[in-house]
Amino acid sequence: MYNFEFERPSTVEDAVRALAGDEAQALGGGQTLIPTLKQRLAMPSKLVSLTGIDSIRGVCVADDGAVCVGGATTHATVAREAAAAYPALAALAGQIGDPAVRNRGTIGGSLANNDPSACYPAAALGSGATIVTNAREIAADDYFQGMFETALEEGEIITEVRFPVPQAASYQKFDQPASRFALVGVFVARFAEGVRVAVTGASAEGVFRWHEAEAALAKNFAADALKGLSLSADGMIGDMHGTPEYRAHLAGVLAARAVAAA
């Protein structure tokens, strides 16, 4: 690690101010950022911890029924507190990493990082969530912009993520054997107005919606409806854990399993 300044403000306004400085960076649970710093792959001059801001922590249900998760809420808290209102989301959070990771890692950190193998992006895109920041509201469809790329501006803080609650949903994660991130993960959500299918882990572009599957499932929400559909291996990730073809194939298998489990 290189040396850096450290601040732990208690309001979003103070955090935004602290982040305005050159080379300042937000720190959520540190589960991604701290290992990066330890490897000296990043050199922020200042870390601004968001863990002291009570207003962006916790889970609540809005008047319209949406589940609202504060940007600095840990995975463990979501697993516990969203279980009644949005079981598929809670189950997803409960499968991230191990207890230590879940007790520190936050939804804001995960979505800001947008790792192509992360789980939360599938939930956000699959649910059609709204990412709320200190400055604006961003629809999930506009938010994810490729591997480790998002719509966030420099210094912008995710303060809340608003999840519309579907009639039925399920996240099926197939573990990468070493990291146990998603080798492929598929989030399926059925709403009155349609079905959303989000695939993570598979594409080099990060999380994406499988529109063909959505259309088929909108007509018939059954695993059988996906028979004959397949994703192209083009643009899929290929590495020591699986070929692009394998990932494309897994997405189909997991989508069917998610529909069956939803």
């Binding site: 490897q39 000296r40 070493a178 990291s179 699986g242």
Partner: protein
């Protein structure tokens, strides 16, 4: 009735109290006043010529004490290799120089180029980043077969090629084997890879070098499985420090699995730098660094042929193996694919003709050396896989095919130079079959099929040679050391005992099980006995812990020393009771005179030895301390039968281990609980190899499995509850405890069981797959299924 102490009792491990309460003393816990820290600048290319190293800017950075490069080690010895193999044509292996810091060239990612010693770890690292290294990239050789091509780049310019040796064993059998295979009724051929492994002990390596100018003494604290061996290798071959001026301490060590046997450059560096700077120098390896500097394991590419007659009798075995040595020869590297591998190719079977050919190859990768089982897992894997394939080809039940060929008469001289002293392979196989309900398998398979899963059962046997090893024999085979063990038993004046053993314990539980043996022999509570290890200043000599040798060799040395103690104590007791020595009996800590009620307690005899007022001083020295060196007469041969039951998800390729059973013959067992623990750990590593682990380089020599993000370590939830049994014991015939050793069995016997089971599952589902290379990751299994369809 289970015993509550002594031999055969499942005594709880005394060392666990300190480990579980955080009061262990590991090398990283050792901090010496005035200590400086070293950071190694390591090569990030696999092969390159060093054109220049500019340390000028770095020298000026805060906290820098001194920067060392290869030039500082001109005239200093290199890291030695402890075993010389002679090739098929009678020539010695090619043995390259291995400098402490790179000289001229870097040969693998992680090769140290420079070492920065600074006041703090971070300052050392900062300065290392400021060093400018000019490296001319050279093409790297990673693939072994490519490395042997005529125009391949050479890892070592001064060697004639990348071939370290071409070993034939038994060379005289070569033609007879060829002929037998040519003429056989059936020959089964299998090509397979035993993949490269990273040992990954929980504690990464740590080194502290210290130097006392006052008496010119160096002390090295290091994470080692064998401090005496390090003292010998480093003192004699690298730094030229005589033993009496060099102390090596390996305190609590958090696992080794082979990777901490070897003498590493960082040990020599810290000892050297401490002398140069006259201050302690410490290095703590990071996990990322461990991946590219700890010696790796396995990495064999093999073709095996098994010739059978029409009844399934094994007639001959021929193997052709390429074994990766990596960029340099690690301490015992040449012995692993040769003597620890070729000598086990007979397995549990009576195959009369065997020929093993091994080509050891240099590549631009981390050196490869012994890893739990070392050579024996490689032998077992290929043999037990090819037998399974043969059974399928010849439509013979795989269990029956093995039984047809079992060795049943002991001692049995194999055609590969070793003599099994004892064993009963039917007994362990029978026991295994009782444990796994083979008859019920068909129903379990049918039930799994209803859930869309393919269920498979894999069974195999294994044998290993442990209790390493008779010194005169290994000397003939190229070892540059003896493989005896020593122990000093120091009885204190009040009867308590300190045993100083050369067998280091780093997870094996010696402090408990060795004390149980002592308690049994002397008849005093184990609490009065301490087992001390890990310091060359204490134990007379030690060849260390590997090859499941501790209880068989180190324990035997302790028994021999204790026999001397009891012999002397008997004389003292005879004097105290005014009886003839021949009439003295010793039981449960009491000396008695046969046929009388005269008795004297152990403690009184000990006191008399140290307060010799009433003592036969003319005949006997005071004091009660004895040392013994024990050199084993033969290897020991643990053996057994293992079974895995798995389910394959044909949609995803994922393998789930539903059941695993191990029936082992370890001879006599000192502490059944510890033995079970050793087997569980071995199984975790063996099944981990079969399903999860694998070290992968890309073509340019970058290590792409360089962290736990990509190197899949097994976790508890990857396994079912293991069922293990060691009731079928045939005690070793040549050591005093009748023990064989249990440390490696699990890792040796389990990989073929898993792969056999997965192949069985696929075959059972009508998918014609005959082999999949490890690790059987979901992606690979799925790929194999696609290939078959």
């Amino acid at each position: 009735m289970p015993k509550d102490g002594g031999i055969g009792a499942s005594t709880k491990r005394r060392e666990d109290i300190r480990f579980l309460t955080g009061t262990g003393n590991y090398t990283d816990d050792i901090n010496i006043r005035g200590q400086a820290y070293v950071h190694f600048l390591r090569s990030d290319v696999a092969h390159g010529r060093i054109k220049g190293i500019d340390t000028a800017e770095a020298e000026k950075m805060p906290g820098v004490v001194r920067i060392f490069t290869g030039a500082d080690f001109e005239g200093v010895g290199g890291i030695p290799c402890g075993w010389q193999v002679t090739d098929r044509h009678g020539a010695p292996m090619q043995e390259p120089a291995h400098p402490v810091l790179a000289q001229g060239k870097v040969r693998h990612v992680g090769d140290p180029i420079a070492a920065v010693v600074a006041e703090s770890r971070e300052q050392a690292r900062d300065a290392a980043e400021a060093i400018e290294v000019d490296i001319e990239d050279l093409p790297a050789v990673i693939d072994m077969k490519a490395a042997l091509e005529d125009d391949a780049p050479k890892v070592h310019d001064d060697l004639s090629s990348n071939l370290c040796f071409d070993w034939g064993f038994v060379e005289e059998n070569r033609e007879a084997v060829d002929k037998a295979i040519k003429e056989a009724h059936h020959v089964t051929t299998l090509e397979l890879i035993n993949q490269r492994m990273v040992a990954n002990p929980m504690e990464p390596r740590v080194v502290v070098g210290d130097y006392k100018r006052a008496n010119d003494e160096s002390t090295l604290y290091t994470t080692s499985q064998n401090p005496h061996v390090i003292r010998l290798l480093m003192g004699a071959f690298v730094l030229g420090i005589p033993e009496h001026k060099l102390r090596v301490v390996a305190p609590d060590v958090g696992g080794g699995f082979g990777s901490k046997i070897f003498h590493y450059a960082e040990e020599a560096f810290c000892t050297f730098a401490a002398r140069k700077l006259a201050r302690p120098v410490k290095w703590t390896c990071t996990r990322s660094e461990a991946f590219m500097t700890d010696a790796h394991g396995r990495d064999h590419v093999t073709k095996i042929e098994l010739a059978l007659d029409k009844d399934g009798k094994f007639l001959a075995i021929r193997t052709d193996t390429h074994a990766n040595m990596g960029a340099y020869l690690s301490t015992f590297a040449p012995s692993v694919p040769t003597w620890l591998h070729g000598t086990l190719m007979a397995g549990n079977y009576t195959t009369p003709l065997i020929y093993v050919n091994v080509k050891a190859v240099f590549t631009n990768t981390v050196p490869v050396d012994a890893y739990r089982g070392a050579g024996r897992p490689e032998a077992t894997f290929q043999l037990e896989r090819v037998i399974d394939k043969a059974a399928r080809e010849m439509e013979i039940d795989p269990v029956e095919l093995r039984r047809k060929n079992f060795v049943r008469e002991f001692p049995y001289a194999t055609p590969v130079a070793v003599e099994y002293d004892t064993g009963d392979y039917d007994a362990t196989l029978d026991r295994l079959l009782e444990m796994i309900d083979r008859d019920g398998f068909a129903a379990r398979r049918a039930e799994a099929a209803k859930r869309g899963k393919l269920r498979g059962l894999g069974i195999n046997c294994y044998i290993e040679a442990c209790g390493i090893a008779p010194s005169n024999l290994v000397g003939q085979l190229g070892a540059r050391a003896g493989l005896y063990e020593s122990a000093t038993v120091r009885v204190n004046a009040t009867g308590s005992i300190s045993v100083f053993t050369g067998s280091h314990s780093h997870g094996q539980g010696h402090e408990t099980s060795f004390a149980q043996v002592m308690s049994e022999m002397i008849g005093i509570p184990a609490e009065q006995i301490d087992i001390v290890h890990g310091d060359t200043a204490n134990s007379p000599m030690g060849m260390g812990t590997y090859g499941s040798r501790s209880i068989a060799v180190g324990g035997s040395a302790m028994v021999r020393a204790t026999e001397k103690i009891i012999g002397k104590a008997r004389k003292i007791a005879a004097h105290l009771m005014e009886a003839a020595e021949g009439d003295i009996e010793f039981k449960d800590g009491q000396f008695t005179v046969a046929g009388t009620d005269k008795a004297v307690a152990w403690g009184d005899v000990c006191l008399a030895a140290y307060v010799p007022h009433n003592y036969p001083l003319e005949e006997l020295e005071p004091g009660l301390e004895e040392t013994a060196f024990y050199d084993p007469a033969n290897f020991t041969y643990p053996a057994g039968a293992y079974a895995a039951e798995v389910e394959v998800d044909p949609e995803t390729g994922k393998v789930t281990v539903c059941g695993f059973a191990a029936a082992d013959d370890f001879g006599n067992v000192i502490n059944p609980m510890i033995v079970e623990g050793q087997v569980h750990g071995g199984l975790a590593q063996g099944i981990g190899q079969a399903l999860l682990e694998g070290c992968v380089y890309d073509e340019s020599g970058q290590l792409i499995s360089g962290s736990y993000m990509d190197y899949a370590m097994p976790r508890a939830d990857d396994f079912p509850a293991f069922r293990v049994d060691h009731s079928c014991a045939t005690p070793c015939t040549h050591n005093p405890l009748g023990v064989k050793g249990c440390g490696e069995a699990g890792a040796i016997g389990s990989p073929p069981a898993i792969v056999n089971a997965v192949v069985d599952a696929l075959q059972g589902g009508g998918i014609d797959v005959t082999h999949i290379d490890m690790p059987l990751s979901p992606g690979r299994v799925w790929q194999a299924i696609q290939g078959a369809n």
